[in-house]
């Protein structure tokens, strides 16, 4: 076909025409690279001719551009070089062979492959679960379209000697910002208020969210029914899907009327104008009932929109450009001075700040009274889980590496053959790694099943939430291949390099021996033991701790006591009269606040400094009813108008104040002088998760009573409680009963501690499983490899103890070393976790570590015993006959 004549005689190039403009060099070079050699001269010439033709018509730069374009248009299959590197990539049959060999390998050694597969599946399943949990945590409130443009107004203030950030803002701030800054496009204030919803015969306590109409524009809450613009109408109410379901069932409730009771005297009818679509599962800023902010004026008596000294729960602003916030920030000083003029000095603030919605949830741990609830524990759990997940993967990889190295002896021949028919070292490495990818891929499938059917639903069941995990998540499909590749390479790299290193000649001659003594194998086993030791210690200690916490006293009697909230003093009187008639009631008292339910934070003035403490206003019988113990001094005197300026404080208060002789000490609060008359032993108002706070009690006015607390004789709690509910229903049919047993005020706290124990036990069981699988596989391979030796020993008269000693000796030193390192590590690590995650916990001792060490020793003994038994039962002749 094409003539391949060599270089013919070249005509002399005539140099009289100016040739300073030449074709660009780079495309020419590319062209020379990819065009078939035999076409090159012709095509290059054509290109050049076209170039100079074009040069006569167009500008040099255009001509060069056209040359580039022509070069790209030459990229055609019929003109391209048959590049040899392309052929080299075509390894399809080889990989097909690798795949076949890996599957056969897996089938041939069911024991080792199932150990590897189970281990990797558990670890990968756990990693998927960690991913799902992290995804759930980090996606909290991230679904809002304008999350980067919406900011929460916050302020910084020095409280109790510390600069702190607060999530509320002065009431008029929102409106002023809207008028003063052109950059601010939208503003909404949010205030929550308690209300009673009456629907037909039922009454419920509910939280009502008052907000500006922009709320639904700034936050992305699409409506299922109705229009979001109806929030402008002060007579409209928008419900969440849950609430629509609760009050109206499946039907469309638009146009229905709801009666909301804000106060004893104030109630208002609202027309349902919208129902929100179901909220995403991971959410902290949401609503049940949404009504126009203006309704606050009628809901709360004397509500003053322009009062700088009062706070609104939250003020959000939306700016066009996130950079605008800097300009706004700089001009916030003006409001600081207005604010500080309006409030007393002790409430002065130091500056205003803005927190973007996108990071609000992550930051909310550090913002006090923030509308978006903090989930500090979730973020730290994610970190713990990640660490544990990595350890699990490490454990599984160690197993894999160990077994791969030890069992490589069986595959030496195969490698020798491969090498002698032309495989280089790289090919052998690729073979082993691709086998691992196959293996990890299977593990991934099992892991997905395990995560989807066990880890995720189990965790959701324990904590009673829904993490909204779905396979449709795009990032999951990036994460999974990364996990597979990472695991495959982490577990396969070392064995592959190790095995591929041997010379074919040596292998085939049989002079290569290995697998018996490998330092790395032993190190990995030791690491596994250490990790298992940590996990078991954790499991034991968390279990012990939940038992300890359940028995720990609260500082008062939480068992024979109960409480009910009352709307006003008259209601208190009525209920008190009824309850006093009950023979089982031992004590009744009234209070404005209640242990575990509410209290207020006050600033106290001492001559030398200011001090923040919690206040509870109670009656004279409260200490006795609730079982608080008086350490020093006296309680309040029981007559009208007594002890108006007396306080009873807790021990922690004394400690913080640094008083040696507390009785008679004085301080100022709201310009009034108070004197300490008594000291109470410390008590936990809230759960053990919260530190004991400096707390003081003052006498409450009868008119302000909002709680009725009861002490009953032992064993009659349920009887009295249902009697109280019955009385309530007859006395106040319009108001739902609200109250409970005192032991329930901490909510699910004990449940949560118990869950910590469960989670750790599951993790520990997984860790023990992984470690013992690895150990079993290793011992078994070792013993099988030495079967001939043991057979000879047996023939020569070795007994049980001789063989046992020989096998045990290999592992004793390793075990002692691993445990000597593992025990102290687990002790310190768990102690660290305890002190960081619990304010109060059991004294950390060595029982956990001891139990962990014992369990591990038992596991070792059992594992090795099974192998010894096998050696003993095997016929020595059979052992000698092999090969």
């Amino acid at each position: 076909m094409g003539s391949h004549a060599g270089a013919g005689t070249r005509t002399e190039v005539d140099m009289n025409e100016p040739k300073d403009i030449v074709p660009p060099r780079l495309p020419l070079r590319l062209l020379r690279f990819f065009i078939k050699e035999e076409y090159l001269e012709e095509i290059e010439g054509d290109m050049e001719e076209v170039f100079y033709d074009n040069l006569q018509q167009y500008s040099p730069s255009k001509t060069k551009r056209m040359y580039w374009a022509e070069m790209f248009k030459l990229l055609r299959l019929s003109l391209l070089r048959n590049t040899t590197f392309l052929q080299k990539i075509n390894h399809y049959p080889m990989f097909k062979n690798y795949f076949k060999v890996s599957i056969r390998g897996l089938m041939k050694n069911p024991l080792t492959s199932s150990i590897n597969l189970v281990g990797l599946s558990i670890a990968i399943g756990f990693s998927i679960f960690v991913y799902a949990f992290a995804n759930w945590t980090y996606s909290t409130d991230q679904f809002h379209e304008h999350k980067n443009n919406v900011y929460l107004a916050t302020f910084f203030a020095n409280r109790d000697g510390k600069e702190q950030q607060f999530g509320g803002s002065p009431r008029p701030l929102g409106e002023m910002l809207r008028n003063d800054f052109t950059q601010i496009k939208k503003v909404c204030r949010v205030e929550d208020h308690h209300g009673i919803v009456k629907q037909e015969d039922q009454v419920f306590h509910e939280r009502i969210r008052f907000t500006d109409p922009e709320f639904l524009d700034m936050f992305t809450f699409p409506l299922k029914w109705g229009l979001s613009s109806t929030l402008k109408d002060p007579n409209s109410i928008i419900l969440s899907e849950d609430m629509a379901l609760k009050y109206f069932g499946d039907e469309n409730p638009i146009g229905q009327v709801m009666l909301l009771k804000f106060d004893n005297n104030v109630s208002k009818e609202f027309k349902v104008s919208g129902v929100a679509a179901a909220f995403p599962k991971s959410i902290t800023i949401n609503f049940n009932f949404l009504i126009n902010y203006e309704n606050l004026l009628s809901a709360e008596t004397n509500y003053d929109l322009h009062d700088w000294s009062a706070l609104v729960n939250a003020t959000f602003i939306q700016v066009e450009n996130p950079l605008d916030i800097l300009a706004i920030q700089q001009r916030m000083d003006k409001y600081r001075s207005i604010q500080n003029k309006a409030v007393e000095e002790e409430w002065a603030i130091s500056s205003f700040g803005f927190e973007p919605l996108a990071t609000l949830h992550e930051q909310s741990e550090y913002i006090r009274d923030d509308i978006s609830r903090s989930s500090k524990s979730n973020y730290s759990s994610v970190r713990y889980m990640m660490v544990i997940g990595t350890f699990m993967l490490a454990l599984a990889c160690f197993n894999f590496i160990n077994i791969a190295i030890v069992s490589a002896a069986r595959r030496l021949k195969e490698i020798g053959v491969r090498k002698s028919i032309g495989a280089n070292r790289l090919a052998v490495i690729i073979q082993f790694l691709s086998e691992n990818v196959v293996m990890t891929f299977f593990a991934l499938l099992f892991g997905l099943v395990l995560a989807y059917t066990f880890f995720i639903p189990g965790f959701e069941f324990l904590w009673d939430f829904n993490m909204d995990f779905s396979f449709a998540d795009k990032n999951l499909w990036i994460y999974l291949p990364i996990i597979v590749l990472f695991t495959a390479i982490a577990s396969g790299a070392y064995p592959a390099f190790y095995i591929s290193k041997f010379q074919a000649v040596g292998i085939l001659k049989g002079s290569v021996r290995f697998g018996q003594k490998n330092m790395l194998t032993k190190m990995f086993l030791a690491l596994q033991l250490i990790l298992a030791c940590v996990f078991i210690t954790g499991a034991v200690m968390f279990t012990q701790n939940s038992r300890y916490m359940a028995e720990r006293g609260w500082g008062y009697n939480q068992f024979q006591t109960m409480y009910a909230t009352v709307p006003n003093a008259a209601a208190f009187e009525q209920l008190q009269t009824k309850m006093a008639e009950q023979p089982d009631v031992v004590g009744i008292s009234g209070a404005v606040h209640h242990l575990g339910k509410n209290q207020v934070t006050r600033v106290l003035h001492f001559p030398d400094r200011d001090y923040e403490a919690n206040q509870l206003r109670v009656d004279a019988r409260y200490f006795e009813t609730m079982g608080l113990t008086l350490k020093e001094g006296r309680g309040f005197k029981d007559f009208e108008g007594s002890d108006k300026q007396a306080v009873v404080v807790n021990e922690f208060f004394i400690k913080n104040a640094g008083w040696t002789n507390p009785i008679g000490q004085q301080f100022t609060m709201d310009t009034l002088q108070y004197e300490v008359v008594g000291v109470l032993a410390d008590f936990h108002s809230y759960s053990f998760a919260r530190e004991i706070q400096p707390t003081f009690f003052t006498v409450a006015n009868k008119e302000d009573y909002r709680f009725l607390s009861l002490k009953v004789s032992s064993g009659t709690e349920q009887k009295v409680y249902s009697a109280m509910q019955a009385h309530w229903a007859t006395l106040f049919p319009e108001v739902p009963f609200e109250g409970g047993y005192q032991e329930d005020v901490w909510g699910n706290y004990y449940g949560e501690i118990a869950i910590h124990g469960v989670v750790w036990r599951v993790i520990a069981i997984l860790a023990i499983t992984l470690a013992s699988l690895g150990l079993y596989g290793l011992v078994k391979l070792n013993v099988t490899g030495r079967l001939k030796e043991f057979s000879i020993r047996k023939v020569l008269g070795a007994e049980l103890k001789h063989i046992a000693v020989i096998i045990y000796r290999q592992y004793t030193v390793l075990f002692i070393l691993a445990l000597a390192v593992g025990a102290p590590i687990s002790y310190t690590l768990i102690k660290l976790i305890f002190t960081t995650s619990y304010e109060y916990h059991m004294p950390v001792d060595f029982t956990g570590t001891t139990i962990a060490v014992t369990i591990l020793i038992v596991v070792l003994l059992l594992t090795i015993s099974t192998q010894i038994r096998k050696v003993l039962r095997a016929n020595a002749v059979e052992g000698l006959k092999t090969e």
Partner: protein, 112 residues
């Protein structure tokens, strides 16, 4: 026809080669077709068509002279084979047959 599969563009290039005779090399073919088709063509499209047809046996080629404009690189002069002529003729006949059939169709279409 199946074996002698000739694309529309290939056919044009082949005809251009036949027409240009001794001048039938890459750039000249490109110029000829560009002026007749009144559109820009790329070197790549012409060259790949030439190479494909050479492989199919429609064309033969040999090096011609080098010019200064080509930076001293030789031209490759293409010539049509008798096989190509046969195929071109066949194509022409098929087309002619179809053209002859057309007026009837057009007439009928007009009735609708």
């Amino acid at each position: 026809m199946k074996k002698t599969k000739l694309g529309e563009f290939e056919e044009l290039v082949l005809l251009a080669v036949a027409a240009l005779q001794q001048e039938a090399y890459g750039v000249e073919i490109k110029r000829e077709l560009e002026s007749r088709l009144k559109e820009k063509l790329s070197v790549g499209s012409i060259q790949s068509a030439l190479k494909r047809m050479e492989e199919k046996g429609f064309l033969t080629s040999e090096f011609g002279e080098a010019t200064q404009k080509r930076g001293g690189k030789r031209k490759r002069i293409y010539a049509t084979t008798s096989y190509a002529h046969k195929v071109l003729k066949e194509m022409k006949d098929i087309r002619a047959g179809l053209w002859e059939a057309m007026p009837v169709l057009a007439h009928e279409l007009k009735l609708i």
